[in-house]
């Protein structure tokens, strides 16, 4: 049974393309991804509606920068601290290495976007591998976003 963790950012003004969330598996544990969610609170109503391109990528060998390293919280507080590293809102994206794109979506910002992988399809990050939830579109206006990532560690 993996140890399950969440990591999140809240109320961040997003004005540029960025790695909304990224996770790097540690040197000793594989990572299994379960779910992520994105939402925003400031662009509401028909006139503010827009579609933003979101991708799930894997394989970057260097971290992005400028953003933050949010806390990783075990869902069971008795579990050990996570060994992975989560980053959020890196406007300098993780762009080095052989990067592959697994999924591509367009998010209508009027409603939250949630993606839950079914058990068979949960992405597995082997040790030292990095995955990114990336925003490929510059928002028309600043949007105040929140987001979260739920993952497990094995080993």
């Amino acid at each position: 049974m993996p140890r399950i963790y969440t990591s999140q950012f809240s109320g961040v003004a997003v004005t540029a393309q960025q790695d909304l969330l990224s996770i790097l598996a540690g040197a000793a544990c594989g990572v299994v991804l379960y779910e992520f969610g994105l939402s925003q609170s400031t662009e509401v109503g028909d006139a503010q509606e827009e579609g933003l391109s979101i991708v799930f990528k894997e394989g970057a060998t260097a971290a992005g920068s400028v953003g933050s390293a949010p806390a990783m919280v075990p869902l069971d507080l008795g579990d050990a601290a996570a060994t992975a590293v989560v980053r959020a809102n890196d406007t300098t994206i993780a762009g080095t290495g052989t990067i592959v794109t697994h999924y591509s979506w367009n998010w209508n910002v009027r409603v939250p976007f949630q993606y839950i992988w079914i058990p068979e399809l949960r992405p597995v990050l082997r040790v030292g591998r990095r995955a990114v939830i990336g925003l490929l579109t510059t928002p028309a206006d600043s949007i105040t976003m929140s987001g979260y990532l739920t993952f497990g560690e094995i080993g």
Binding site: G51, V55, S104, L121, R126
Partner: protein
């Protein structure tokens, strides 16, 4: 089972087409788990429209006009896929005995995602082709993304 994804991003869609297709190889089976389609450019009440989407199977001649996206294993240690995915073929795959399994209408303002339950996942035997087809020409160009997730056995 080895799992793979294939996707396209930011493609201007103006005509009827095979949004995604997959051809199983010469060994093993392909099991389809999920697909998703969405768009980013037609937003707001006035741009809302409904497009007809179908899942078809059985075409023996490949479509054309589109691309062959990379096929990516969900576990980087897995072997390369033996099936072939195509995207955005404006000349649809034809010939053969083509059957339609499922049909939907997609309101383009919100992403459309379909996950088959375990009992109902489509199975493609060797050399069989399935298509996620767009049967409606959009009123205006829409900039679309999409993905397909499947497993390979054998």
């Amino acid at each position: 089972m080895r799992y793979y994804t294939g996707q396209f991003t930011g493609v201007a869609v103006t005509v009827v087409q095979d949004l995604l297709s997959i051809l199983n190889g010469t060994t093993g089976s392909v099991i389809i788990y999920e697909f998703g389609i969405s768009q980013s450019t037609e937003i707001g009440d006035a741009q809302e429209e409904g497009l007809s989407i179908v899942l078809k199977e059985g075409a023996t001649t490949v479509g054309s006009g589109g691309t062959i996206p990379a096929v990516v294993p969900l576990d980087v240690g897995d072997a390369a896929a033996t099936s072939v995915v195509r995207a955005n073929d404006t000349t649809p795959a034809i010939n053969g005995t083509i059957v339609t399994h499922q049909t939907w209408n997609w309101n383009i303002r919100i992403p459309f995602q379909y996950i088959w339950t375990p009992e109902t996942r489509p199975i493609l035997r060797v050399n069989r082709r399935a298509v996620i087809g767009l049967l409606t020409a959009p009123a205006d160009s829409i900039t679309m993304s999409g993905y397909l997730v499947w497993g390979e056995t054998g």
